[in-house]
């Protein structure tokens, strides 16, 4: 049972971190292209330092929160977070909203920075560094939240963190080598999978926080994953059919 929870927590943290790191990399690369590696790198370092500070200051406070309160709070946030991702992934897979395109995001961020360059030439290094800092901090906060959330109270925080850090290092390494946004990463499929996993964990933790003894204990997570996956795939099929009928 423990290994089942650990396995799904590691997969969820790794895939989610992969997506977040790809999104952060796109912005950092745009900053580097427009203004050079110095402000981009300084923004990354400052973002990582701010993240570390947040984890060091707020992390120990979690030990003082009663377990059921932690499970309920994390469960609710995970449900909100996971179902938000899943909803978007369903709508994208059904063709109702455009797929997330890292190349387009890179072009848009580059254009915005160039526009800022035109208006505030003097302050541009500062603005470019800030964009890089914000990307690393916000995407990093999502990674930290997911790692804490999927390993809540189960003693697997260290190993799940390693999976998340490995995903981020992998993206950073590939980004350094190719010097291009990672547009080929199947981001929507990853978000679909992560949305299913996080929603399932959210349901499990919310129930535990409310005092529900799920049948099969940790095995219930597998059942929730299957339920969310079947529901989401069914919704994509229905929406796609409806869209095709409307077009023809």
């Amino acid at each position: 049972m423990g290994s089942l929870h650990f396995g799904s927590a590691v997969v969820a943290a790794f895939l989610a971190s992969l997506v977040e790191a790809v999104e952060a990399l796109t912005i950092v690369l745009a900053v580097a292209v427009v203004r050079g590696w110095r402000p981009a790198g300084l923004g990354v370092i400052a973002g990582l330092a701010a993240l570390a500070l947040i984890v060091i200051v707020l992390g120990p406070l979690l030990d003082f929160v009663p377990l059921y309160v932690l499970q309920l709070a994390i469960g609710i946030l995970l449900l909100l977070f996971g179902m938000r991702w899943l909803r978007k992934a369903i709508l994208r897979a059904a063709g109702l909203i455009p797929l997330h395109d890292e190349a387009a995001a890179f072009a848009s961020e580059t254009a915005e920075l160039q526009e800022q360059a035109r208006r505030h030439e003097q302050r541009l290094d500062w603005l470019a560094g800030l964009a890089s800092f914000k990307a690393v901090l916000l995407e990093g906060l999502e990674v930290v939240f997911i790692v804490i959330a999927v390993s809540a109270g189960r003693g697997v925080l260290g190993r799940v963190s390693i999976a998340a850090v490995a995903a981020c290092l992998l993206v950073a390494l590939v980004g350094l080598v190719v010097h291009r946004p990672l547009a080929r990463v199947p981001e929507n499929a990853l978000k679909f999978a992560v949305g299913v996993l996080l929603s399932a964990f959210g349901l499990f933790w919310t129930g535990e926080g409310l005092g529900i003894d799920w049948p099969g204990a940790d095995l219930a997570i597998l059942a929730f994953i299957a339920l969310f996956l079947a529901t989401a795939l069914g919704a994509v099929a229905l929406l796609s059919r409806r869209t095709r009928v409307a077009v023809s």
Binding site: I76, L77, L79, L80, F81, M83, R84, L86, R87, K88, I90, L91, A94, L96, L138, L141, E142, F145, S199, L203, T206, G207, L210, G211, I212, D213, W214, F224, L227, F228, T231, A232, G234, A235, L238, L239, R242
Partner: protein, 68 residues
């Protein structure tokens, strides 16, 4: 002050994208919580509300997304 508000908006945005979806999820959780408090003997019902409620909310939200 505006920077703080912008930062808060970004953090809230991590969890809330579609207000209707977020409200519906919270409503399902509150309902399941009320059943747990007022009918502790029927805690299984609370689990059912949570599971079916979340799946139902997701389906209704995406099916009505186009209209909205």
């Amino acid at each position: 002050m505006s920077a703080l508000a912008a930062a808060l908006r970004e953090i809230v945005g991590l969890f809330v994208d579609d207000g209707a979806l977020a409200l519906a999820i919270v409503a399902v959780i509150v309902l399941a919580g009320l059943v747990t408090v007022f009918a502790p003997a029927a805690v299984w019902a609370s689990g059912g509300i949570l599971v079916l409620g979340c799946l139902g909310v997701l389906v209704v939200n995406v099916m009505t997304a186009k209209r909205r």
